[in-house]
Symmetry: C2
Subunit: 545 residues, 2 copies
């Protein structure tokens, strides 16, 4: 099982301890999931939640459809059809995925899971699948929250989940240009462990960092957790290698080019529909040595928003610029009384950053923010960032616990220009609030934070928490999700800032995507994947697009 | 004639004076071209140059092919077939364009020039052209140096140059989000004049600024003159409107999105082959109020390169970071004795920048740079930048004068990762130097400056100056150009960093572009432009791609 295979960090003589077992139904590793008692205690905080947690089915006894796929003998050694492999590759990690797994509904399980060990294995699997009419769903570490890895059609040839975990090496490090050639299947922590001895970092930390891969970040246009400047994986990409059914696509590795439309930008965000990303040259950075952060309180969320806009347009580029609205701040325990909190952080590998933080602080105070604490500028001083990071990485486990208590916990994220930000914020609370009340019969909770800010607009991240009727969790989630997409579309916001489109965002995506571009993209898809085997249902309609 | 139509800046009550007449054969305006005497004096500086300048033909008496195109009466009012319009739209402004115009060789002149006044006019022209098998060459202000606006095929339906100069309005300014909706045909200075009253700037200043348009910048993925961070027009683009034969494509205006491959990135760099960009929402910035700059001398170009790399990787993001190699520095009159010069500049709309410049200065001195002067940090203090900018904008006029003296003056620009930069620099001097000697029989001059620097590599810009045999200028240029492309390709550098592909860079582009991507792009082209009327020969082979 790739999930438990120990991988020695570069230069390490002692083999690391075996990794904790990955959860087959929920987030992360089994050892970090909340116990039944912890789930019940958490549920008790939500009025209307169930009294006892849903049980977790035994993966060895879940019901799976009979596998339809028989690989040729040349590929048989790469393929698994064990129930744990098939069950754990059925879904991503959306709320509705977790709920369906807990119900033991695994009807869309892949027939087999392929574990290629080399790029040539990927080529061979695609060649065979194209001839055998077998659907191939590229799979990084399965953190999709948009149905990106769950094929929902009925292709008779069957479905193979193509798990890239075996392609996890850092192949080359260029310390002069600060770049590395990296295989797509590497997990975030493993990648950073291999770069650290060189003083380098990719510095891309999405919330899924521990359980997502470079290839997944690239295929979905992931946003890291840095608030400004280089946060999107797109901008960290020097070149890509992509196995398509029409051949291997390798772009030229250069820092910039004006030679026609960017080849990489076609594959970035293609979500496994145009090819399988096998490796990339990525731009790295020196590891930050100077860090400082400060928090500010605001009585008025509108004033806080104006302050954030000033920061985003100042050219000062804080590494962190997170605005928590009153509900989010209260939930995180960092402020009460209807106050919003703005957390600012600055980092540098080369220079002290206290001066930069002071400039930012002056700007924020000018906009009505009151200082509420901070950390200094000593090398390595990142205690605040560290504790925030721990809480951030813990959140998906809490979401799973809420799911077990039949509490809907949905997040959706977007981006809009500043002129629309206030209207969108109010509309989500008003219009989506009404839908939550109608669907669940409870008041629920809608919170918001800005996870990224751009000079021309913020990326608001909304969290909806509301009790569901046991047995109807997924259906109620669907109604709320669909309403959220309507609100976003009506207010000129994107259907997704960094969660990708997958299958769940298709209705909103189809409205957002300009029709001539859709036509061009379908033509490109057909040129690269004429048999239509790659992740059908994602981005495009139909089996053959 | 759009070139001479006065356009009142927003808020101006007094009509501006009529504009100087644009040159039909060379760069810019006629009043700024060097006189015969000035040409001769310049030529005297180049051993082997001709003694007298080539004469400039009278545009009223040049020989043009008989126009094949008869527009329908509904479009006739948009079309011109006057010799000045046809002659001035025959070529871009590459060296070989200027030489052929001076020779009076205008066999590829468009049959008509269309001057749409609205987006609907563009739609109507494309509709008619698709039905009548007429080639349409989108034309901004004709500053292409890569054959981007010269159709060289023999489509019997004829050729229309589609001059977007009439679409030159700023339609909307959002001061909250700092963005504007701008028509594609606006020239750089007119755009800035309209943004200035709002305290805003696009801050995109390619060398062609005065005589190129927003649409041209977008279609060719232009690089501005800022050295770091936001310099590529790609990154300044919020959304695009593009008229394609398959319909109007309008992308959602948001600050960021992870919804599938970026629609805008397909059209950015499409060079008029996929559609006609008619307007864009562009990201603006506050006008800088604080500026400071400093220059440093290096005895060794390798040490200078290392210093520039340290600056580029420091995270300090200077607005200007230009390295002039010994030849370039000597030619610019800023240093002699084989020394290189590094010019650094910092800017901010909000904060004093002296501290930032001091941090950069410390870094450069650590790498062996000796301070050689600078300017301070008072608001508006930009005398050095101003004089440099004047010289920069004057260069194309000097190039034209050299052309009249039968001196080849070719520039080619590229980008490569830092690990290859030194090898490329040496290879260009060695290998291209040998070609220049062989082709021209003279030593010639090869200079280099870095125009942009990225954390992972520089964008070197080479200038080749060598005397040509009168009458064989274009042919000798072709040989040198072709050799330059070979050297770039062999050393892993891009065929173009910001000059686009056009027709002249096609051989190098075809090698650089990955084959599966080429296939996908051709399919996209066919989906959007099934009749193959849009700028055939650019990016793609053949008449119908």
């Amino acid at each position: 099982m790739p999930e438990t295979a120990p991988t020695a960090p570069a230069g390490s003589a002692v083999p690391p301890p075996p990794r904790p077992r990955r959860s087959w139904w929920g987030w992360g590793t089994e050892d970090k999931a909340l116990s039944d008692g912890e789930c019940a205690a958490l549920g008790a905080l939500v009025p209307g939640a169930a009294a006892t947690p849903l049980p977790v089915p035994d993966v060895r006894s879940v019901e799976l459809p009979k596998p339809r796929v028989t690989p040729p003998s040349s590929l048989a050694h790469l393929m698994s059809d064990t129930p744990p492999d098939r069950a754990s590759h059925t879904y991503g990690k959306a709320y509705r995925d977790v709920v369906r797994a807990l119900r033991g509904e695994l009807g869309t399980a892949p027939d087999r899971v392929a574990f290629p060990r080399s790029e040539q294995d990927v080529v061979d699997v695609l060649d065979w699948a194209a001839g055998a009419d077998v659907v191939v769903v590229p799979y990084g570490a399965g953190s999709s929250v948009v149905g990106g890895v769950e094929y929902r059609g009925d292709r008779r040839g069957g479905v193979v989940s193509l798990d890239l975990a075996g392609l996890d090496r850092v192949l080359d490090i260029d310390t002069i240009s600060r770049a590395a050639r990296i295989q797509a299947g590497v997990l975030g922590p493993d990648l950073e462990a291999r770069l650290r001895p060189h003083g380098l970092t990719l510095r891309h930390f999405p919330q899924s960092f521990e359980f997502s891969t470079l290839g997944g970040w690239l295929a979905t246009r992931a946003g890291g957790h840095y608030a400004t400047l280089l946060t999107h994986i797109d901008d960290l990409t020097e070149s890509l290698r992509v196995v398509t059914p029409a051949g291997v696509n390798e772009s030229l590795r250069v820092p910039g080019s004006g030679a026609g439309p960017s080849p990489d930008r076609l594959f970035l965000g293609s979500e496994g529909t145009l090819g399988v990303i096998t490796e990339a040259w990525m731009r790295l950075q020196d590891r930050p040595r100077h860090k400082a952060s400060a928090s500010y309180l605001f009585d008025d969320v509108k004033a806080a928003t104006a302050a954030v806009r000033a920061v985003a347009q100042s050219g000062l580029h804080p590494a962190n610029c997170r605005l928590l609205d009153p509900g989010e701040a209260a939930l995180a325990g960092v402020a009460g009384g209807g106050r919003s909190v703005l957390v600012l952080g600055v980092e540098s590998a080369h220079f002290p950053v206290a001066g930069r933080l002071a400039e930012l602080g002056a700007l924020v105070r000018d906009h009505g923010g009151s200082p509420a604490g901070g950390t200094g500028d000593a090398p390595g001083d990142d205690s605040a960032a560290g504790s925030w990071r721990s809480a951030f990485l813990r959140m998906p486990y809490l979401r799973d616990a809420l799911a077990r208590m039949s509490v809907i916990s949905e997040t959706f994220e977007t981006a809009c220009t500043w002129d629309r930000a206030e209207g969108l914020y109010e509309a989500v609370h008003r219009e989506l609030g009404a839908v939550v009340r109608e669907v669940t019969g409870a008041e629920g909770m809608i919170n918001c934070r800005f996870t990224h800010v751009y000079p021309d607009g913020p990326a608001p991240y909304f969290t909806v928490i509301a009790p569901a009727r046991r047995g109807a969790e997924a259906e109620m989630w669907d109604e709320i999700k669909s309403a959220a997409m309507e609100v976003l579309g009506a207010h000129g916001a994107t259907v997704t800032h960094h969660h990708a489109v997958g299958r769940d965002h298709r209705p909103g995506y189809d409205r957002q995507r300009p029709e001539p571009f859709a036509r061009a993209l379908r033509a490109a898809k057909h040129a690269l994947d004429p048999a239509g085997i790659l992740n059908p249902g994602v981005l495009f309609d139909g089996e053959r697009s």
